[in-house]
Symmetry: C2
Subunit: 342 residues, 2 copies
DNA sequence: TTGTAGGCGTTATCAC
DNA sequence: GTGATAACGCCTACAA
């Protein structure tokens, strides 16, 4: 019952030519007569021939397949990056394998090994929260030819290209905007400080305050995660203080949403009493009746650029050595109702 | 500068045994002595041996890779299905390749061909809006061994398993809920009727009205797409009529969101004046200050079940013939503020 | 312009 | 329990 695929041998037999001729005709080799080429093409189609990429890959060492590892695929940010990646690479004949690390370094490592086994031509990773030991990544760089590219959540490692957004700048302009709207006591709800992106957002916040001669107060920096609940809880806590915040810059849209919910719960007004701005430009931020200001990370573009870095590296690689690139994209501030007081 | 991977030949040379022995040892073959097995294993590790899946796949005909084609990956529904798929298949050693059809039948067909070339072990598809000609799919079924599985957006084709939710039931309970809340003049904003899912939602709406002895009025069924704008525009149109709707059942959450925005714009009250319920349970529906009722499609579960159908088919396939399955999942109604009048 | 033959790394079928 | 060898489907020197 098993249906066998037709191979170039089948075609060569039928046409009484050698497999080499068939292969060459199929690959549009220059030194082959037009008629044989046409004939081979025709019979290939007729016999429903499909090239076996496996065999080709085994021979050439190139699978025309890349892998991407993200914490979870069903988030707006990561699925958008992957969309961009697929759209950049697909026209060049590359397939994209997706893996999820579940934000766990061990699983991430396992997925990485699997992708290596699969002989992918490149691996794109946005590292998990608890990834710290990069030794095995360095080992891969040292012992294999498989390039690794980090996007968004990165670590700096020699030989690895990275594509990120300027989180520092995004946080800076967000904070600056709040300052310009007249907010004085701006709190920051930061994300996991094990990740560079959240470190940078914190620093952007701090530097904006400094540049505008506002005091940087340690107690005003609350280390939250990125959930709605944490936003609610953090807001509950800080509103009990004598010196309440009059604005919140959250490193996460979800936390910002929690903040908004709690403000409403406390019968305070946004943006009059308290201004709010988030980060990521999640779809819901603009859908809300009271829309939430946010910083867009241009994820689709990030995916496309990531793919492009890989494609370029192949071109350049004629020299055998490819130089790592460190690309930083510009974030876009979206000012909405939650922070527009003037 | 190119680093070569170590092969079983390298190991066999170093150990002065045959490649067959090495292969067997590595695969834990029963008839091989414990010492050689241990020895091979040790040197394999020492030499940093990595099995070449390509060669294995070429030999066995199994790539341990599946493909999935969706319109766009960066939507909550599709990325969630893919999440489920990956989580079901990954533990069994399968990789997942993702492709986007951009809701276009031609691109979809091309992606399908590419996946076939890649020799994937199974292809999961949620078809595009304008897919109608299924001849090439039937041809693939007839001429290849690659199973195709439809999820959510399907067509009925012999030999193809499908995993869907009971859209009819989802629409029925949504409409029923509106009726029970006392709404009398319930409109339906339907989706693209080329897709079965939207046909079923329409029919569920109709049958609920019938069962409750409410008139089914043709003019109350508006054929919209699935965007916010279309929701706004459709709402503008119908509110100019003499017999205005007092509730909207929308086949899409985005259209429902547009409806809500326009109702607010018209200074009407939700749910007092007009009740609203959507479909898909998009994250934003529960985040809104005025949360929107919706029907959940359990996308992650749908992905897991889809993967499981494939895995089961492999097991069963010892007989050589695999029977198609038609699985229908139960949707869940989430009643929120936009429709709770009593 | 076309044909022959070897090899990519594994596994499986024979032998011994 | 182990070894030699063919085969998976393709590409590509090298010959002719």
């Amino acid at each position: 019952m098993t249906k066998k695929n037709t191979t170039i041998y089948d075609i060569s037999k039928k046409l009484n030519v050698s497999v080499a001729t068939v292969s060459r005709a199929l690959n549009n080799h220059p030194r082959i007569s037009q008629e044989t080429k046409a004939l081979v093409m025709a019979t290939a189609k007729e016999m429903n021939y499909k090239q076996n990429n496996l065999a080709k890959a085994l021979k050439s060492g190139e699978t025309k397949t890349v892998g991407v590892i993200v914490p979870y695929i069903n988030t707006n940010f990561f699925s958008s990056v992957i969309r961009g990646l697929e759209e950049e690479l697909s026209p060049h004949g590359y397939r994209v394998i997706i893996c999820q690390s579940h934000d766990d370094a061990d699983i991430e490592k396992k997925q990485l090994t699997t992708l290596l086994h699969t002989q992918v031509d490149c691996i794109f990773i946005s590292i998990s929260r608890n990834t710290s030991d990069m030794d095995y990544v360095k080992k891969i760089i040292a012992t294999t030819n498989t390039p690794i590219i980090f996007f968004d959540r990165k670590k700096d490692i020699p030989g690895i290209s990275t594509i990120t957004i300027d989180d520092h700048r995004g946080a800076y302009v967000a904070t600056e905007h709040l300052i310009q709207q007249g907010y004085k006591n701006i709190y920051h709800f930061s994300g996991d400080q094990n990740l560079e992106i959240y470190q940078n957002r914190l620093n952007g916040y701090i530097n904006a305050l400094k540049d505008y001669n506002l005091p940087v107060i340690k107690e005003n920096i609350i280390n939250t995660g990125s959930s709605i609940e944490e936003g609610i809880n953090a807001m509950k806590t800080v509103c009990k203080r004598k010196l309440k915040p009059d604005a919140i810059f959250s490193a996460s849209d979800f936390t910002a949403l929690g903040v908004c919910k709690e403000i409403k719960n406390l019968k305070l007004k946004i943006p009059q009493d308290i201004g709010v701005i988030g980060f990521s430009n999640e779809p819901f931020t603009q859908f809300m009746e009271l829309s939430i200001s946010s910083v867009d990370q241009t994820p689709v573009l990030m995916g496309k650029i990531s793919g492009n870095v890989f494609l370029e590296s192949i071109k350049d690689n004629s020299s055998g050595i490819s130089i790592e690139k460190k690309l930083v994209l510009a974030p876009t501030l979206y000012i909405r109702e939650s922070s527009k007081r003037k």
